[in-house]
Amino acid sequence: MADNILTASDIYEPSTARPEPLIHTTGLHKRFGATEALRGIDLNVHRGEVLAVMGPSGSGKSTLIHCLAGVLTPDEGHVVVDGVDLGALSADARARLRLERIGFVFQFGQLLPDLNAVDNVALPLLMRGMGRKKATSQAGEWLDRLELADQAAKVPGDMSGGQAQRVAIARALATNPSVIFADEPTGSLDSVAAENVLTAMLQAVREAGTTVVLITHDPRTAAYADREIIVRDGKLSAASIASLA
């Protein structure tokens, strides 16, 4: 009770103690037919943090991510991303939001095999209406930042797995998203390549201040995050809930 009384310091020092979380969700429920994939999840993702989402397959973690990204609509509960309530948006508007504010990195298969690295990275910029020249030059800059300048003219088929994933990261970052969802970004890479990719990714997102939600089952990958949550049977583990306080 005593906590609710305003103290003098609250009046005279504006509260900057806790900025708004970037992603905020309460009471998330999602059913697929008879199966309950999410059974009540409350979660805050803070701006600028790297959050690891772990859990066995079938735990519901992919459903959770789908809901957070606005790909799926939950049956109950709200998802608020960067101040926008996803439930209030149409499917097209959510797609537009994903294009403008969210970046995605997948385990594989996201780069267009017919385009070189620069064009792959420039693609989302073009989709947002940027001119070709400007998009290409910005794409080139991002490739430089991820130390891929010598791969710029190559197609994904001619790159190593690690290089291709870094191109994917460059593409995700190119539109300056508020948050990046990375799904097992190093899943198909060996340890050294994985480490290179993760280091590069984290360096780039820290510079840009981008929030990252990193889905992985690999602890060593999750160790690159600031904190982790574990999803089990559609709920967050007790330890995860405790850590979110």
Binding site: P56, T199, P219, R220, A222, A223, Y224, A225, D226, E228, I230, S237, A238, A239, S243
Partner: protein, 176 residues
């Protein structure tokens, strides 16, 4: 591995006679290295002195192996505290964690929470090491990697054991 706490836990789980305790210990924890009677009795004596155990009734002329022991409130408290205190991830951890899990199952305590707690601790440690690695020279990084892999091995074990807890409990109930 903390033998005294293991014995304490075994007493709580129902092995009350001295002789039973030694054999129970060997059965569960001492496959490779059986515990000596002497060590058992020394540990038991110390715990009685510390108020964690007490003896029940005395048979005339009975040696320590025939004594009956019971756990005190304080003793129970010690065990609970032991359960909810995660260990520092270290190679010697294995025995301790193993003991905790098995006993928690026997005592019908929350083994899931125990493992979760340990997992969180492990992850925190991994984060620390990973952060340290970012700015470390390569030689140190290699040493850090070794530690990381060890911790990962533990985590794998924790995950697997987590998944098998209900089966473990069943088996313990069967074999007493």
């Amino acid at each position: 591995m903390d033998k005294s706490l293991a014995l304490l836990g075994l007493v709580d789980s129902g092995a009350s006679y001295g002789y039973d305790l030694k054999h129970r210990y060997d059965e569960v924890f001492g496959r490779d290295k059986p515990i000596a009677f002497g060590q058992v009795y020394a540990v038991l004596a110390r715990m009685i002195r510390d108020g964690l155990l007490l003896t029940l009734g005395e048979e005339a002329g009975a040696g320590p192996d025939r004594k009956r022991y019971a756990i005190t409130e304080a003793g129970r408290g010690r065990i609970r505290a032991w359960f909810v205190t995660p260990d520092v991830p270290a190679p010697e951890l294995a025995g301790n964690l193993f003991a905790k899990v098995v006993l928690a199952c026997m005592l019908e305590e929350d083994a899931d929470a125990l493992l979760d707690l340990q997992r969180t601790e492990h992850m925190a440690r991994m984060r620390e090491l990973t952060r340290a690695k970012q700015s470390a020279p390569l030689i140190d990084a290699i040493a850090i990697d070794h530690a990381l892999f060890q911790i990962e091995a533990d985590l794998r074990w924790i995950d697997m054991t987590s998944a098998r807890l209900s089966d473990i409990r069943k088996e313990i109930r069967h074999h007493g």
